[in-house]
Amino acid sequence: MSSNTTDTSNETESTTDESSTLIETEVSVDSQRSQTPTETVVSATNLSVSYGEQRALSDVSIEIPENKVTAIIGPSGCGKSTFLRSINRMNDRIPSCSVDGELRFKGTNVYADHVDPVALRRTIGQVFQAPNPFPKSIYDNVAYGLRIQGKADDVDLDEAVERALRGAALWDEVDGQLEESGLDLSGGQQQRLCIARAIAPDPEVILMDEPTSALDPVAASKIEDLIDELVSEYTVIIVTHNMQQAARISDKTAVFLTGGELVEFDDTATVFENPADSRVEDYITGKFG
C-alpha cells in the first residue's frame, strides 16, 4: 500500500465521502494538541491476557500519555475491551482470566502482589457500554464513590455532587430533581450520570468502554463534546468501534486486530492518514473488519 498521505485520503473519500472530510478536519486540530510532550500514565509491557485456553491479548506493549484521549479501535473480538478491563483489574472478576506480563499505572505494576484491586479502582474510573446507574436517586448515584471511599464526611458532599454533575454537563438538566431516581433519566442522561459518578471521586484515569454505542447520535455527540472537556483534567482511554468517533475525539489511537495483537499505536492523525501497517490501512478504509 502507498504511504503517501494524499493517496490514502483519496481512497477514503471514494468509499465514504462525508466521513472522510470529517476525519480530515478534526484530525488536523487534534494533531496540534498532541505535539506537546507528556508523561506516560499507563504502560503495558508484553501484556497477555487469556480466558482459560482462549488468548484475548497477546504481547501488548503500549505507553499511554497523561491528559490525552487515547482511542482503542479494532474489529469485534480483538481484545480491546479486555485491554481496558485489565487496566483497572476488572478482569479479576472473571475466574478463568489469567494475566502475563506487566501493566504499570504511574510506574507501579498493578498486578504486583501488594496492589489491592479495590484501591486501584478508586483511582481509575470506568464508564460502561450501556448506562448502568444504580437504582438510587441521582444524588446518591453521584455521591456513591465518595461515600464508599469514606470521603463523604471530609468534603462538602452537595458541592462535590454539583461539581461532578457540572463536569458531566448534566447539572442544568437535573438541577432541582436530584432526589429522583437515576433510572428515570433518558439513556443519554443516564450515561452522563455514569460519567458524573466516575469523576466525582476525582480519579486519575477514566476508562470508557464504547460509551456511546447504546445511544442515539445526538446523545452520543454530547458525550463526545464532554470527553473533549474531560481531558483537560483526566486521562481518557476510550474503546470504540466507531472509527469516525476515534478520529474526531482522540489524540492517540491504538489499533488492535484479531488475535489480540496491538498492530499500531501512534498519533491519531498518523494512524488515520498514514498508517505504517497495511492491515491497519485495510481496516480503516473498510476492506475488512
Binding site: 479495590v118 484501591a119 474510573g125 446507574p133 444504580f134 464508599i148 439513556g187 471521586p201 447504546a214
Partner: protein
Amino acid sequence: MSTQRGDLFADIDLGREKLINRLFHGLLVAASLFGLVILVLLIADVIWESYQGLTTFNIDPVQFLTEPSSSRAERAGFGASIVASLWLMALTAVLAFAIAVGCAIYLVEYAPETRTTRLIEANLANLAGVPSIVYGLLVLALIVNDAGLGSVILAGAIALALLIVPIIIVASIEAIRAVPSSVRDGSYAMGATTWQTVRQVVLPQAMPGILTGTILALARAIGETAPLIMVGTMLHATRYPSGPLSSFSAMPTQIYNWTYQADRMFNGLAALGIVVLLVFLVVMYALAGYLRKKYETEGSITNV
C-alpha cells in the same frame, strides 16, 4: 363454489381423527378441573361444617376468636392458638431470614465457583424436600431434651425455621442472581468492596424477591403440624403464651387436637379454626403476590 369445494375434499374422512381429538380434549379439561373441583369441595365442606358449628352449637365468633381453649367445648376458643402461631411466625422469620439470606449472599457473591459450592447449591433443593417431621424429631432430640429447653414456642420456631431455611435460600439465590451484573460491575469499578456492593446495590434490588420468597415459606410454616407435634404441644391451649418460653398449641395443632375429641362440638370448633387458618394463608399469599407484582412493574421501568 361450495359444491366444488365439497367435491375436492370429499374423499378425506376426518370422522375418526376428529372424534379422538374431541375425546382427548374432554379428558384433558377434566384432568385440569379435577384439582379445582376438589379444592372447591374442600372449602365448601369446611364452610358448611363451620356454619353447622355456629348454628347447632351456638358458637359465639367473638368468644371463639378471643378465648383460650378449654377441655369443655362450650368454653373453648381459638385466641391463645392464634397468638401462639403469631409468636411462632415472628420467631421463625427472625431465625430463618438471617441464616437463609446470609447463606444465599455467600453462595452468589462470595463463594468461588468450585465443585463444593455447586454441590451445596444442588443439595439445597433436596434439603427443601426433607419431610417436615424429620426436623421435628431433630429439634425434639437436640433442643427439647438435650438442651433442656422443653416443649416451648422457641423450640417449635427452631423446627419451623430449619424447615423453611432451604426454601428461603433457593428463593433468595434466585432474587440475587436476577440483579443485573452490569450494576455490580459499576459498583466494583468505583472501588467498592464486595460487602459494599452487596449492601448498597445488590440487596436493595433483590429485597422484594427475597421478601416474597420468605413470606411464601412462612405461609408453608404456619400450616405445619407434624414438627410441632414432635416438639410437643398442649392438648388444649388453655392460656395465652407470655413469651418464647411458654408452652403452647399453635393453630394447626389445636385444630388437630380438637378433631379427635369425643364432644361433637369440638368438630365445629375445628372447622371454624380451619377457616381462620385459611384466612391467614390467603392474606400471606396476597401480600407475596402484591410484592411480586410491585417488583415486576418497577423492574420494567428502564429508559435504556
